[in-house]
C-alpha cells in the first residue's frame, strides 16, 4: 500500500473509544457495580479522592470502573469533574480533635489516654496470597467482641497537646489570614505553608512516599523523626449558614491525619532557646496512611531546608502532582514528527560534515 495522506482521525478515535468501553463492559456486557467497588475497594476509592482533590466516594467509584482500575486515570477523571462544579462556600476550619475515631495509634508511647485502637488494618497481618478468594472465599466468624462503631466523643488525648503542656512542642501562633488556594492561584516560591500542605494533600501517593523514603535513607535532614500520632476517622464539615451566618454541619469527610515530631539538627549555637520538638503535619482524604505519614515527613523536610532532594521545595512540590506528571510524561505519545524531522536533519548534516572532514584528514596524511 503506497503512501496516503493522513485521514480518518475521528473514526480512529471512536474505534479506540469503543474498544475501551467494550473492556469496561466486559464479556457480560455489564460494567462493575460502582457501589460494590466503593464498598470492597474503598482504599482505591480513597486514593482516587485524595489525588483527585475531591471528596466524593460515589464519583471516585464510578471513575475507577470507568478507568478499568487505573488509579492515575481515575484521579484524572475526578479532577476534571471537579472543574465542572461551582464553588458554593468555604468551610469553617475544623478542629480534628472532633474526629469520630475509627483508628488511632501512637508510636511515641506504649500507652496514652485512649490507648492504641488498631481498627481495620493490614499492618500486622501476613501478606500471604489468599487463593481461596478465587473460589468464593472463607470468612471466619468473629469470636472476639468488637467495640461499637460509635466512638464519637474524643477520648483520645492528642499527643501533641500532652507535649505542648510540658513545653516540649511550641504552641502554634494564631494565623487569621485566609489560606492560599493553589487551585485558583498557581503556587509561587518560596511557598507558603498552606500552599505546601495543599500540594502535598493532593499529591500522587507513590511520588511523595519515594521522597519521604529518601529522606529516611540519608538524603534528608533527620535520620528518624517519630510519628507521634496517626488517626483515621470522620470529621464534620461546617459552613456559615447563608442566611443566619451561624455555623452549620453540612456533612462529614473521612480523613487520615498524621503528626511527626523532629528535633532540628541545625539548632543555632548562639540561640539561647531551650530545645523543643517541631511538628510535621499530614492530612489526606480517606484512609491513606502512607500518604499522610509521607506528607507529615515532607512538611518537616521542606521546612528544614538543606541540600537533600526531599528538602528542595521547588523540586518536590512541582513534581508530585500525579495528574500533571502522568499527563506530561505520556504526552510523549503524541506525534512529534515535525520536531523529529528537524532533529534528523541536524544530525545528518553534522554526520556528513564530520565524515567529509575525516576523509580529507586521512587524505592529507597519506
Amino acid at each position: 500500500m503506497g503512501y496516503t495522506a493522513m485521514q480518518g482521525g475521528l473514526s480512529s478515535i471512536k474505534a479506540a473509544e469503543h474498544l475501551v468501553k467494550a473492556r469496561v463492559f466486559g464479556r457480560e456486557g455489564r460494567p462493575l457495580d460502582p457501589g460494590e467497588i466503593g464498598e470492597k475497594m474503598s482504599l482505591g476509592v480513597d486514593r482516587v479522592m485524595s489525588e483527585g482533590g475531591l471528596y466524593d466516594p460515589a464519583a471516585a467509584s464510578v471513575a475507577l470502573v470507568q478507568a478499568e482500575g487505573d488509579l492515575h486515570e481515575a484521579s484524572f477523571i475526578v479532577r476534571a469533574y471537579r472543574s465542572t462544579l461551582p464553588r458554593i462556600a468555604y468551610s469553617i476550619p475544623t478542629d480534628t480533635g472532633e474526629m469520630r475515631v475509627l483508628r488511632r495509634i501512637t508510636p511515641a508511647f506504649q500507652f496514652a489516654p485512649g490507648g492504641q485502637l488498631l481498627g481495620s488494618t493490614r499492618d500486622y497481618t501476613q501478606r500471604l496470597l489468599d487463593w481461596t478468594l478465587a473460589d468464593g472465599g472463607i470468612l471466619e466468624e468473629e469470636t472476639q467482641e468488637q467495640p461499637s462503631e460509635e466512638l464519637d466523643r474524643p477520648q483520645f488525648s492528642r499527643i501533641a497537646d500532652i507535649l505542648r503542656a510540658e513545653g516540649l512542642l511550641p504552641i502554634p501562633e494564631e494565623n487569621p489570614a485566609d489560606p492560599d488556594d493553589i487551585t485558583r492561584t498557581p503556587i509561587v516560591f518560596p511557598a507558603s505553608r498552606s500552599a505546601k500542605l495543599q500540594t502535598l494533600a493532593r499529591a500522587e501517593t507513590g511520588s511523595i512516599t519515594a521522597f519521604a523514603y529518601s529522606s529516611m535513607r540519608g538524603y534528608g535532614t533527620f535520620a528518624h523523626g517519630t510519628i507521634a500520632e496517626l488517626r483515621v476517622g470522620a470529621i464534620p464539615m461546617r459552613i456559615s449558614h447563608p442566611y443566619t451566618g451561624q455555623p452549620v454541619i453540612v456533612g462529614e469527610v473521612q480523613v487520615t491525619e498524621a503528626e511527626e515530631f523532629t528535633i532540628s539538627p541545625h539548632r543555632s549555637l548562639s540561640s539561647e532557646q531551650i530545645e523543643q520538638f517541631a511538628l510535621g503535619y499530614g492530612l489526606v482524604f480517606g484512609q491513606n496512611e502512607r500518604k499522610a505519614i509521607s506528607m507529615a515527613m515532607l512538611d518537616r523536610q521542606l521546612a528544614e531546608g538543606g541540600g537533600a532532594m526531599a528538602s528542595q521545595e521547588e523540586f518536590v512540590l512541582m513534581h508530585i502532582d500525579g495528574v500533571e506528571a502522568t499527563g506530561f510524561v505520556e504526552h510523549l505519545k503524541l506525534p512529534h514528527y515535525v520536531e523529529f524531522q528537524s532533529i534528523l536533519q541536524g544530525m545528518r548534516r553534522r554526520r556528513d560534515r564530520d565524515a567529509a572532514a575525516n576523509e580529507s584528514k586521512e587524505a592529507s596524511l597519506v
Partner: protein, 293 residues
C-alpha cells in the same frame, strides 16, 4: 535425575497449602546461613545477601525474620519481642509466622529461649552461651548519618576511615554540649568496624561487649546481615571528656514489679499522670512471679 513432575511435587508451592519448615525454601536458608557465617567470621562487617520479600512488609522485620527462619531447627525455643514486649502486635504477627510454619515452641522467658528475635531492645538478662539474639535492623549503615552514598560508605569501611563519623560527634558536642545520639549509638567492633546496633537505647549498648551469646543482625530491605560473635570487644565511640552515658531512670520504679535497674516505658494514664513500667515485659513477669512465690 527426577522428572519435572517429581521436582514440582518435591517443591510444593504454598498456594496449595504446604510450606517448607520455616517458610523459606532450603536453598534460601543455606544462602542466608552462608552469609551469616561470613558475618561471624568478620565481626561488624556488613555482608550483602539476596534478601527475599516476605509476607510481612519491608521495614517491619523481614531481615530479622529471614535470619531467624534460616537458623531455626525443630529443637529451638523462640521468643519474639518488639520494644521489649512479647505482647506487641507486630511481635505476635512475626511469632505466628514462625510457629505456623515450624511448630517450634515459644516462650516469653528469655532464660528459656534459644533464639530471640527482637525489635530495638536487648533483654535485661544477659545471653547464655549458645543463645542467639536476632536483631531487626532498619538502617544497617552507621555512616548513613554523614554520607548518603552507599558507594562512598563502603569505601570508608574498607579503609577504616571513620573520620566523618567522629566529626559528626564533635559537631554534636559543639551544638548541644554533649553527644545527643539517642538510640542506635554507633559502636566499634573488635577495634575494626563501626557498627549500627539497630535502634536499641543506650541502656543496652554495654550488653554488646564480651557477650556469652551471639548477636545476629538482619536488614531485609537494605539486604545486609552482620554479626557480633561471643567474647567480642564492642565499644561505643566517644570522647575522653564526653564519655558515653546511658539513659537514667533514677527515682523511678516499675509499677508492676518494683524494679529500678531496668529500661522503662513511660506511659500516660487516662487521668493524665505519667507512670513507668519495665520495657522488658518477660523480665517484669518473671520478677513479679518470683515475688509472688
Amino acid at each position: 535425575m527426577s522428572s519435572v513432575q517429581e521436582l514440582v511435587a518435591e517443591n510444593v508451592s504454598p498456594g496449595h497449602g504446604a510450606y517448607n519448615f520455616g517458610f523459606l525454601d532450603e536453598t534460601t536458608k543455606r544462602e542466608v546461613r552462608r552469609a551469616l557465617l561470613k558475618a561471624v567470621a568478620l565481626p561488624g562487617h556488613q555482608i550483602p545477601f539476596g534478601s527475599r520479600e516476605m509476607p510481612v512488609a519491608r521495614g517491619w522485620g523481614t531481615g530479622g525474620i529471614q535470619v531467624t527462619l534460616s537458623i531455626l531447627g525443630p529443637d529451638d525455643t523462640v521468643k519474639v519481642i518488639d520494644q521489649g514486649a512479647d505482647e506487641g502486635v507486630n511481635a505476635w504477627n512475626i511469632r505466628r509466622l514462625i510457629t505456623d510454619t515450624s511448630g517450634v515452641p515459644t516462650t516469653t522467658d528469655s532464660r528459656e529461649a534459644s533464639i530471640i528475635q527482637t525489635r530495638h531492645r536487648i533483654p535485661e538478662v544477659p545471653l547464655r552461651e549458645g543463645e542467639v539474639l536476632v536483631f531487626q535492623v532498619p538502617m544497617p549503615e552507621p555512616l548513613r548519618m554523614v554520607e548518603p552514598s552507599e558507594r562512598k560508605t563502603r569505601a570508608m569501611h574498607a579503609q577504616a576511615d571513620y573520620s566523618r563519623a567522629w566529626v559528626h560527634l564533635y559537631e554534636d558536642v559543639v551544638r548541644r554540649g554533649e553527644i545527643s545520639h539517642a538510640t542506635g549509638y554507633p559502636v566499634m567492633v573488635a577495634g575494626r568496624y563501626l557498627l549500627s546496633p539497630s535502634p536499641i537505647p543506650r541502656w543496652d549498648i554495654p550488653k554488646l561487649n564480651m557477650s556469652e551469646g551471639i548477636y545476629l543482625f538482619g536488614a531485609g530491605r537494605e539486604k545486609r546481615v552482620y554479626a557480633i560473635p561471643p567474647h567480642t570487644e564492642v565499644v561505643p565511640i566517644d570522647f575522653e571528656d564526653h564519655p558515653f552515658y546511658v539513659e537514667s531512670f533514677a527515682g523511678r520504679k516499675c509499677q508492676k514489679c518494683g524494679s529500678e535497674d531496668v529500661y522503662m516505658n513511660e506511659v500516660i494514664l487516662d487521668d493524665g499522670r505519667h507512670a513507668f513500667t519495665c520495657s522488658d515485659s518477660g523480665f517484669c513477669d518473671s520478677r513479679t512471679e518470683g515475688a509472688g512465690e
